[in-house]
Subunit: 145 residues, 6 copies
Amino acid sequence: MKGIGYFTISLLLSSESEEKDLIKKLKELGYKVSQGKSGTMDSKELIAAIETTAKREGIFQADCYRDEHVVYHTALSALRGFCRGEIGIGNFLRTIGVKFVVLRGPIDITRRNLGEWVAVGIYGMVGAPVKGFEHEAIGLEINSI
Amino acid sequence: MKGIGYFTISLLLSSESEEKDLIKKLKELGYKVSQGKSGTMDSKELIAAIETTAKREGIFQADCYRDEHVVYHTALSALRGFCRGEIGIGNFLRTIGVKFVVLRGPIDITRRNLGEWVAVGIYGMVGAPVKGFEHEAIGLEINSI
Amino acid sequence: MKGIGYFTISLLLSSESEEKDLIKKLKELGYKVSQGKSGTMDSKELIAAIETTAKREGIFQADCYRDEHVVYHTALSALRGFCRGEIGIGNFLRTIGVKFVVLRGPIDITRRNLGEWVAVGIYGMVGAPVKGFEHEAIGLEINSI
Amino acid sequence: MKGIGYFTISLLLSSESEEKDLIKKLKELGYKVSQGKSGTMDSKELIAAIETTAKREGIFQADCYRDEHVVYHTALSALRGFCRGEIGIGNFLRTIGVKFVVLRGPIDITRRNLGEWVAVGIYGMVGAPVKGFEHEAIGLEINSI
Amino acid sequence: MKGIGYFTISLLLSSESEEKDLIKKLKELGYKVSQGKSGTMDSKELIAAIETTAKREGIFQADCYRDEHVVYHTALSALRGFCRGEIGIGNFLRTIGVKFVVLRGPIDITRRNLGEWVAVGIYGMVGAPVKGFEHEAIGLEINSI
Amino acid sequence: MKGIGYFTISLLLSSESEEKDLIKKLKELGYKVSQGKSGTMDSKELIAAIETTAKREGIFQADCYRDEHVVYHTALSALRGFCRGEIGIGNFLRTIGVKFVVLRGPIDITRRNLGEWVAVGIYGMVGAPVKGFEHEAIGLEINSI
């Protein structure tokens, strides 16, 4: 299955050396690609970083509420998945260091007729505010846009 | 980062032809590996499938409550992440078709001194009970065991 | 404020004699209108009723996954609001008797340039399975479509 | 159905010119009425505004813990419905501008024998901290007092 | 602190031989006392058992919706605390064997002027559907009635 | 049933004069015992107090991530039970004054073969930021360690 989720996760897991080729391939497949990093204890900082990066990379236009609204809810749900339930980081005495990816394009390469979709993925470390006291987590959400 | 989460997700995303080599590599790295598939509208069926498969593949011994308890909660949290919030499938009028992976071994290959951990990953399709009305989702949880 | 939420709630609260005029007015304002009733202890029955009614009234086309997906999530969130937290009816030993409304059209009559949106509203009684042991509740969600 | 929820929602949706007559009618029907506005990113500010306004308008006496406790939980649940799940505003990078209403009186006008009940309703806009990037939401809860 | 919660928990933890004296003491302190047991995988069965037992023991009158509504929500919240989050038993592939207690009387013995309150407590085992694969859990909620 | 949960709750409910004997008995039964108090509106302060106290009393070693991770999640779930759903204190305009207990040892005195487990219990008052406007609550979680 070569879907927007598969591609989002693949880019999340890519090393820096693998990213370049994968991004090139994703663009050829018709995806707009946005990615960034965030280290924070504050949920709203991560959401803001995702939205700002997506806007800058042309995932949505700054003045388009329709699209901003979809990206926002997609990011919020991805974060809910990353947190494995209710959303919270510093308020639960934990900190995160993550990479995030936003893709916009077909839901998968065999269903191009379904119009444009957006995927937000978050992958990285979550843990106590103590060096090395952390493990991995991932979150993903997909919506039409 | 080559952690138990990274490996779990990599195996989840592998095609059937890629699985064999990856499983071999994971075993060389010191992981016990279990995987299976489930198509269901019933949360408890998926949890049961994960536990049964993990038991059969030696992730934990059938008579060890300690380990069963960890695998259970790890599976439940992975499912919560897959559902992006409260757990529910058929009761929310949706159906899933997923692959799941359970790994047991080091938290990552540079922190082997931290003992054994278990990761449960769930990846696949979630959607309406209508053919083709579905998109991808993923869930992952990691605990010491 | 004359928004799609305001109109949805107004129709939910309308008596049978008021409905006809309001629906006529909403259609003149550019809304597609769908409404129905459901008495159930089963969340998925209510969601199915909302989707089926919306489809029949032309809120979305039966073969359009994009739109079905939006209506589904909008209904699910409206139900979450109706339940004031986690979704559950019979599994929490309660029953509901509700009217639901689905509107499709502008987000409000002064922001017609924002394209089409969909609102799902649910209003009615929730209570114990004992006659007269019930009080009102309401849920509403709005998304672009 | 002319219940305390119906009246609460009706007052929430009233324009300033309609409020006066409706409040007069509600008082004649035996309701104590309280309403106010709040624009905030902070859940506790809204809860405090609801409680303070309700106290000032005589919905409950300042020294009565029983009643304060009921109003508090009713407001909290109404906010949960408004948020369509877990409670959060600024921590999820969103802001709200709402009207709230607290009524105290009969559960509905045909069940006056059931003693006094309280309803808290919240209606207004929720959105990104960008002008015009917002849509409507509503929350309602009802308890005996 | 000798509050209704303390007494509820004390009765939950009492052995059969201790119960008699404690119940006698609680009645002298002005409490109505109800207790029972439930072994189930179904949330609504436990809620029904709590309500039925409380009604039979005179915690509330069968025809009093006001009081039934308070007992219901108190039981539901106690169950939420027992489940440590979202409510679910069999749907999460687990089973419970619990004792429950419902008390009605003063919030504590030094605040008798605050009127009548009700506490629901649930204590017992939760675990896999395998003999001996279980650990303890507790839930408690308190409301005015 | 004489389990780690029973002992944790018993210590939570003990008066200062009863604590000494109970702690002595628990140590004889093979438990490590830790307890403390916290008055706060901030969830992360309570979690930090529990972790710090547990570490100081030898429940886990400061440099052991495995054990810290278990204690953290056990505390978080106990807090979720105390809050009877989503975690929140000051953000929901309430304050808490609690005693907490952390025990480490056998799951119960008849199942010593199941290795070491940890229980976190939280008991005390939750209420409005007004003197005397408060009632009791309790939370408990148990995990293998």
